[in-house]
Symmetry: C3
Subunit: 347 residues, 3 copies
């Protein structure tokens, strides 16, 4: 069985994806079903009828209950079977499906795949910037055929951009990557003084200077929730005088060998400029879809069905400090969870 | 190795499918080859040359012998190698292929995949109605990516129609399903009094009554041979005054996870009405192909590679009485067959 | 792990396939990368960066070094990492990729997948006819989903042509196949006197005789390097008075269950006749692609994932003398190689 960290909030969907139409999705190797109740809140159920294992998303949403499309058993949003249309109409006591703790916050739907009692809403990471006034956020998403940690590696190592995304970045000089950790949060920070601004920021600073100081800071939290602050300021000026965008990168394993990648870009400048939205979407397409995804999937193929890169004896470079720290931290969390008493195991 | 009941007649093909062209098909995980001999009778051989394992269907039928397309070994309809075109032309003593007992009856070709000595033609089920005068029969077939018992479950449980085929049936009231067994035959009977006739029968009773009494009776025999009598009569009138169609559902495993489904509809009314044939074919397409097949394959995916539903601890309902009885009876037959002395094992 | 003969020269590519563009190819289950250095010579590296296993062919060729497309590690043609653009720029001592001995000769690129110290250029088979003046050579290639020895069987048994390629050959009489072995070379020779010339040779002999004497001689060397001399002469005349073409058949395992097939036809007549080239290409397409490939892949499917035909207890015929001899000889070479001391194992 796949070793995922279960006691953690994962992104199940962008909020706008969840409607009154039954939405099937596989998360951590478990098929689930998302829908919006009549009061607008989100429910998530296991997508498998306990009777004959028909996928419940092939049924109907009636009020706040899901009717199985095969034999009509009805389940409420808590997963309790509330109607059996057959025989004496008695509902079998075992006829329930798992309901998952779920929270909608800042345009995202978060799901807890571990023991429900441990699902603490306080643990949902604070991504308030996604919906904050004074910001403009563009979102996207895709599924890629690679273990999610290959993507984490990619993100915690901004130095790959110079090679993999060389068309868009002009950072040909040396870069120092500073890795730090505070509790369960790992930071990878780059400071790139006195260089040409990448195309994304072109023309966005007042007076459009030829050279800028630039920063890239990636922040990771378990299990695979990342965001980055990237900005430019005039050479020698403080960051507070510059402009910044926050990149969001939320990874949820679909299976051991595939990953849902939810991403966003939130900028604090040119809020009403639709051409900036286009610039963001072009970047998503060119860098994420055509470069990061292609590379991650190629690496997964080279790793065959393996998922633990560190067990494959890779040559490590200085730029791996952050990603190795993240991998070790996450491995420790998974080890600790597996050592919990049996009742803590949700399955 | 897959656990099929081997000592049983299975449908290999509709008779009209078997011609002078070599027809390859996989049955119970064994590739076979069907053809019609010069006298019009059907022969079935293993579809693998014992020399280099070339599929024999890639060769030629010459008279009643099959010439391998790779090196020209010739096999007669009994599977004996009768010609070696090479060297001293001596036929190696082991150069035979398995020939399967086969019977053509009532438009179907039946094959016996177990020990040939036990192949008793009396055991072929009597489906004389398929070719009886006074009836009109429309046939069809498909292969689906699901274990055959998922289909048996589906058929022995007519109550699924109310949900899965709700577009075509208007049986929204309660239905009593009566399950009985006589020897190796299991019956699932429904009586649905005083309701709107399903579209299939619309306009077929004299005077076209708004409400009818209706019956649905499914009959199962091992390994997975089913037919059903479904009919309507005017409310309060005896069945003999009504009209009836017989549905035929003959399941032959292709592999453990896929099934050949041969189906037919034989009606005793409007024999010469081509629009009734169209109505039948539309039902085959809409209900069998677009609904039953899609559901069965979705369930198989949920079961992953498992095939024994009862081992997966399903919640059972009253409507499962017939299908569970069928599963247990068949499991008993397979157990008994596996306990037979070794010589009874055909492979 | 697949049991290939490793200490042997295999064809990696036709020389013209290898250019300044990085060419990825899987050989003996190992992904490699081929390119041409600035001096025109060919280099072959493992196609996997030791840092994060990015395929190196996704990077760039800069001079004679390959820059990884993910993080910019640079490797020279000997596989040594020569540049690390990160941190203190120190190249980690383990950061090398395997470089394979390679030889370009007579329009082919040969690779040695075993212990490099044993790679003796003298062992490359002499296929000088491929580029000899006085000959015209047409080449081709494909990959087929079958173990390479199924192809070897096919080639060392010319008698299959009478059945599988019957459209092109009219050899309906008996043929004696003479098998001999000299050291590690196995010969399968046929002499077919007084018969109609196959279409390939039609009109090529002076006076275009109705009947000819014909010979077909296949020559095998380990691991799976074959060529054949096929020719016709006027009935009763010596071979030296006739015309001949040499067929080349070089098999390199891609994986255990797929094979790169490099083939050529070198004729000593009608050198400047483009219609003869077309005739050759039609033969490649009709016989190799549409018949041999289809048959080999069908046999592999019948063998499922097995690769050792002799373990499957086939019925053997006189025509198998050469192919069985080849299989046993090769099995002996692989056994002997596996018995070598550990340092002889390249992986």
């Amino acid at each position: 069985m796949a070793r995922f960290l279960r006691g953690a909030w994962y992104v199940a969907a962008w909020a706008e994806e969840v409607t009154r139409a039954l939405l099937p999705r596989t998360l951590l190797d478990e098929p689930v079903l998302l829908f919006r109740k009549q009061d607008g809140s989100v429910a998530v159920l296991a997508d498998s009828c306990p009777h004959r294992f028909a996928p419940l998303h092939m049924g109907k949403l009636i009020g706040d209950t899901v009717e199985c499309g095969y034999h009509g058993l009805c389940f409420d949003a808590a997963g309790h079977c509330v109607a059996n249309p057959h025989g004496n109409h008695v509902v079998p006591s075992r006829a329930n499906v798992r309901a998952y703790p779920v929270i909608e916050r800042h345009s995202l739907v978060w799901i807890w795949m571990g023991e429900a009692e441990r699902a603490d809403p306080e643990l949902v990471p604070d991504l308030a910037y996604l919906t904050a006034s004074g910001r403009r956020t563009v979102t996207g998403g895709m599924t890629m055929a690679a273990h999610y940690e290959i993507l984490t590696d990619n993100l915690m190592d901004p130095s790959h951009a110079r090679f993999l995304h060389s068309k868009y970045l002009d950072n040909d000089g040396d870069v120092t990557l500073k890795t730090t950790q505070e509790g369960g949060t790992v930071y990878a920070r780059q400071w790139l003084p006195d260089r040409k601004a990448p195309g994304f920021f072109a023309g966005c600073l007042p007076d459009d200077p030829e050279k800028v100081d630039m920063w890239i800071e990636f922040i990771w939290q378990a299990p695979a929730l990342l965001h980055n602050s990237t900005g430019v300021t005039c050479v020698g000026e403080p960051r507070s005088e510059g402009i910044e965008q926050i990149g969001t990168h939320l990874l949820t394993p679909e299976t051991e060998l595939s990953t849902h990648y939810f991403y966003a870009n939130s900028r604090s400048f040119r809020l009403d400029d639709a051409s900036m939205d286009d610039r963001v979407r072009q970047w998503f397409h060119d860098a994420f879809v055509l470069e990061d995804k292609v590379m991650a999937e190629a690496i997964q193929r080279r790793m065959k069905n393996a998922t633990d890169l560190l067990k494959m004896d890779p040559v490590l470079l200085s730029i791996d400090a952050a990603s190795v720290r993240v991998r070790r931290h996450l491995a420790g969390l998974i080890e600790a969870e597996m050592a919990l008493p049996a009742q803590a195991s949700p399955l």
